[in-house]
Amino acid sequence: MILSLFLGLLMGVGLPGVLAQSSNCEDIEVGVDRPLNLVYIPQENPEKLIGDITEISSYLEGELGIPVEGFVALDHAAAVEALGNCSADVSFMGGLPYVMAHELVGAEVILGEVYRGNEIYYGRIFVLADSDIETIEDLEGRSIAFADPISESGYLYPLDIFVQAGLLDAEDDPQEFFSSVYFAGGYQQAVEAVINGFVDAAGANQYVTLSLQPQQLEEIRWIAESDPIPSHNVIVRQGLDEELVEDFTEAMLQLNEPEFQYLLQYVFSPDGYVRVSDDAYDGVREIAVRYGFLEEDVLDEANEDDATEDTDD
């Protein structure tokens, strides 16, 4: 099956140092040489099955007039690698993997999700409702579960709450403050680790509540909230034909219209999309640098780009 062949190509990636822009990307004429390839990442929403990705592909084929195929990557690294070597053209991911994909393979963000009417969301620290923990200071020497190390709302932003409060330095090992730190594999798993009494706290996306049963909701509360995080997004690979990018963007924005909204369930179920530009992710970039995910000079480059855009305006 095509999917397994594609995954076979992706399975060996994710190794440091192999992420690079392929030199022959410019030679690919998407829609002629091969379909427009969308790559989905299960870890973007581990609490939920990826829906029938052929639905959105069929819709896009009708709108764009070219073949479109969807694939599932093993993880973020595989998806970014696929964008870098031009086996994939479009992906759906959070802010942290995006800023890394931007640096590693030149991917560009085109659309941001709107969720519950907002283009931003928050990471939060959850504890048991009847816990004696009232503030984040109370978590010293206690255990915590995060979702995934490559997650802005499920790790970096919640961790940053402790750094901003002066309880940790960004370069510290979090275990210097907490008794133990777990990566549970998803937001829901992290919060359920609290509910089940495995850990004292969890750092997770504010919308984890939507994945919990009502009786579970009554068992938890949140004690701290991160800085706002730009919403998850849609990104395209470097070098993808600009006209195709624009047509694709328009087709995705059309999903905001009532008659097309049902299709949003096949792309991680946002309320809709808005156009966004790379500078919307400068905050994420700063945090990524602060925690060693990106080199500091990335910020200088981003500032220069912003200044150029301002001048152009």
Partner: protein
């Protein structure tokens, strides 16, 4: 911010855990929940749970459906194998056991116990297989993460609804083991950043705990119980002894409302009246949304009239594996909802629309009930195992449903003729529609049954050849009620069994069936005509920043509650008051999850808590206090309502 239309996917509550049977007798414990996304299951565990569910729909077991689970191409994305049998092949090799042949033999022999034993064992070994795979990849951070998560997706068939309820301490220990195992495999990070190291010792400790439990409990046969309605199977750990089997539903079930949500048109509202001013209708509306009128399992699952008939129309998404032969259909007289009303035939039917109900009698796909009241009683008591409704309840339900209107259509006059807006093609199609054909039921036309002047129906039943399931060549079992064609554009698929996907399919079928010999142009014109008369100006609810999903639910629930103040408390009518509160208080809480800002949910919870206080007062016979609390409830609704979106 840009103009965004909010997605109209209304969440209904799902009662995830109840109890349908114990070893002797029946006990019911109900826990309620909103619908949350189904946690991912591996294809092996999905097939296992669905097949087990199908076994429990006996005594007539659909072995064909069970075979399909294992031999058909899987629909889930992201797997390298094509069928579940294929997924089991490498597991046989690793553990040197036969898994596929015992399952195939059990299916061939139609041996339910052997099948359940074999599939339970296979699911356990599949869990352990992915743990073994993970173990081989511990040399590289993150390489084993997918294997561990896959193992957990297989294990979930045991853990999610079963170990959690019958062996909670083990569930807790196993949960901690899974957390440790997930953590122990590390993370590869991205581009060299964010990686975390593996911890083989932590992995092996977790592996021992999980494997020991699986081997002890799931690899030496499955848990079978004999009941009054036949054998019942469930993935219960063997070491726990006599237990209460939790009510469970198969993966792939969908009780969510249709998206887009049909727009409800009530006649009194169209004429400018408020539902709260018509208490009988308001109470009927509440009952239409109440699982309390049904028995288990429908009640515990939160199934209501509106689950299938969304906003008086249909629900194309409704699906219960083994009960629905396709989305938008259900077998309501099978083994699942009421085993004592099981007609032993797997006759899942397409859900019909209730729009214009007062004009579309008789009721039932074969028109078996002339009376809407009798039809409704049959649904409650026989189809969904509910208790005998009171006269007031039946009056209220019927009063409400008789208000269901068709959606107006600017292309159609009330007498069934086309307006000037109709296309030339539709006008040509109208002529064909009214033309009599010798080959069509001895000289009839389409309009003979779908009478334009009478809502495109005739109130009769006909055998047009849409089913060939005859017990005798001259039997009468394939007569079906003529359906209205008003608003038919939005009720696909078509025919009693939903066997035709589009109106074009229907026209082509009739052209062939009745030897109409229409040209391509005539076929196009006839489709255009049917599409034109079946249209609606506003078929679906449009959500925006003001008309949000939550506000729609809030308006409904607060309207329902008005009968407490206007009727039940003044009349000291405890039964109907408590039934109302038992319906709407959990609904308020469940619908809070639809708030744009979930942090406002406390206001909704406070309203629900106030209703529960009213219930307590009523149960204690303190009607004066109930009235006082109702006044407080109204004040809360007035204060909080405008703030909530």
């Amino acid at each position: 911010m840009s103009d965004i239309h909010i997605k109209g996917n209304r969440s209904r509550r799902l009662f995830v855990m109840g109890t349908i049977l114990v070893l002797l007798g029946i006990t019911v414990y109900i826990t309620r929940a909103h619908i949350v996304p189904e946690q991912p299951l591996h294809p092996v565990s999905g097939a296992y749970l669905r097949s087990t569910f199908y076994l429990n729909l006996g005594p007539q077991i659909n072995w064909g459906l069970i075979e399909q689970e294992y031999s058909s191409e899987i629909t889930e994305e992201g797997y390298a194998f094509v069928t579940v049998y294929e997924a089991l092949e490498p597991i046989e090799g690793i553990f040197d056991v036969e898994l596929i042949i015992p399952i195939q033999e059990a299916i061939h022999n139609q041996d339910a116990t052997a099948f359940f034993d074999a599939t339970t064992r296979a699911n356990s070994l599949a869990t352990r297989y992915y743990i073994r795979l993970a173990e081989t990849r511990l040399d590289q951070p993150g390489a084993a993460l997918n294997d561990v998560q896959t193992a957990q997706q297989v294990y979930r068939a045991f853990g999610q609804d079963f170990i959690s309820s019958v062996d909670p301490e083990a569930f807790r220990q196993l949960g901690f083991a899974w957390l440790n195992m997930t953590n122990s495999v590390g993370n590869s990070g991205l581009g060299g950043a964010g990686s975390t190291a593996t911890n083989p010792d932590q992995f092996m400790e977790a592996k021992t705990i999980i494997e020991d439990y699986l081997i002890t409990n799931f690899e030496n046969g499955g848990y079978v119980i004999d009941t009054a309605v036949g054998q019942r199977f469930a993935p219960i750990p063997m070491s726990v002894g006599e237990v209460t089997i939790p009510l469970w539903t198969p993966p792939g079930m969908n009780l969510n409302d249709q998206d887009p949500l049909p727009l409800l048109r009530l006649n009194f509202e169209a004429q400018g009246f408020e539902e709260s001013d018509i208490p009988l209708v308001a109470y009927g509306d509440m009952l239409f949304d109440s699982p309390e009128i049904f028995g288990d399992p429908a009640r515990s699952m939160g199934i209501t009239c509106s689950t299938c008939h969304n906003r008086s129309d249909i629900n194309q998404a409704f699906f219960i594996p083994g009960v629905s032969h396709q989305p938008g259909a259900a077998d309501v007289d099978g083994a699942f909802f009421n085993p004592y009303f099981n007609d032993q035939r797997f006759d899942s039917l397409d859900i019909p629309t209730l729009r214009g109900l007062r004009f579309t009698g008789p009721y039932g796909r074969d028109g078996r009930f002339a009376s809407l009241r009798e039809f409704t009683r049959n649904v409650i008591i026989n189809e969904f195992a509910g208790e005998e409704p009171t006269e007031f309840m039946l009056d209220a339900l019927v009063a409400y449903m008789l208000e269901f209107d068709f959606q107006p259509n600017s292309y159609l006059n009330p007498n069934g003729t086309l307006t000037d807006l109709a296309s030339d093609s539709a006008v040509r199609g109208e002529v064909i529609f009214n033309t009599e054909y010798d080959s069509m039921m001895d000289g009839m036309s389409c309009a003979s049954c779908h009478t334009p002047g009478s809502h495109f129906a005739d109130g009769n039943q006909w055998d047009i050849g849409s089913s060939d399931n005859y017990s005798h060549p001259n039997a009468y079992e394939n007569f079906f009620d003529t359906p209205t064609l008003l608003n038919v554009v939005y009720t696909a698929p078509y025919f009693h069994d939903g066997s035709l996907d589009t109106l074009e399919d229907v026209v082509n079928w009739k052209n062939e069936q009745f030897e109409m010999n229409l040209t391509d142009q005539e076929l196009t014109d006839l489709v255009e005509y049917v599409t034109t008369i079946g249209a609606a100006d506003e078929p679906y609810e449009i959500f925006d920043e003001e008309n949000t999903l939550f506000r729609l639910a809030w308006a409904e629930l607060t309207t329902f509650a008005t009968t407490l103040g206007s009727q039940h408390i003044p009349q000291q009518d405890a039964y109907h008051a408590i039934l109302l509160i038992d319906t709407i208080a959990p609904d308020f809480r469940a619908d809070a999850s639809g708030l744009q800002n979930y942090d406002d949910a406390w206001m909704v919870f406070e309203v629900a808590d106030k209703l529960d206080e009213i219930k307590t007062a009523i149960e204690q016979g303190d009607w004066e206090l109930a009235q006082t609390l109702y006044d407080e409830y109204e004040a809360l609704v007035e204060e909080y309502g405008p703030q909530l979106r």
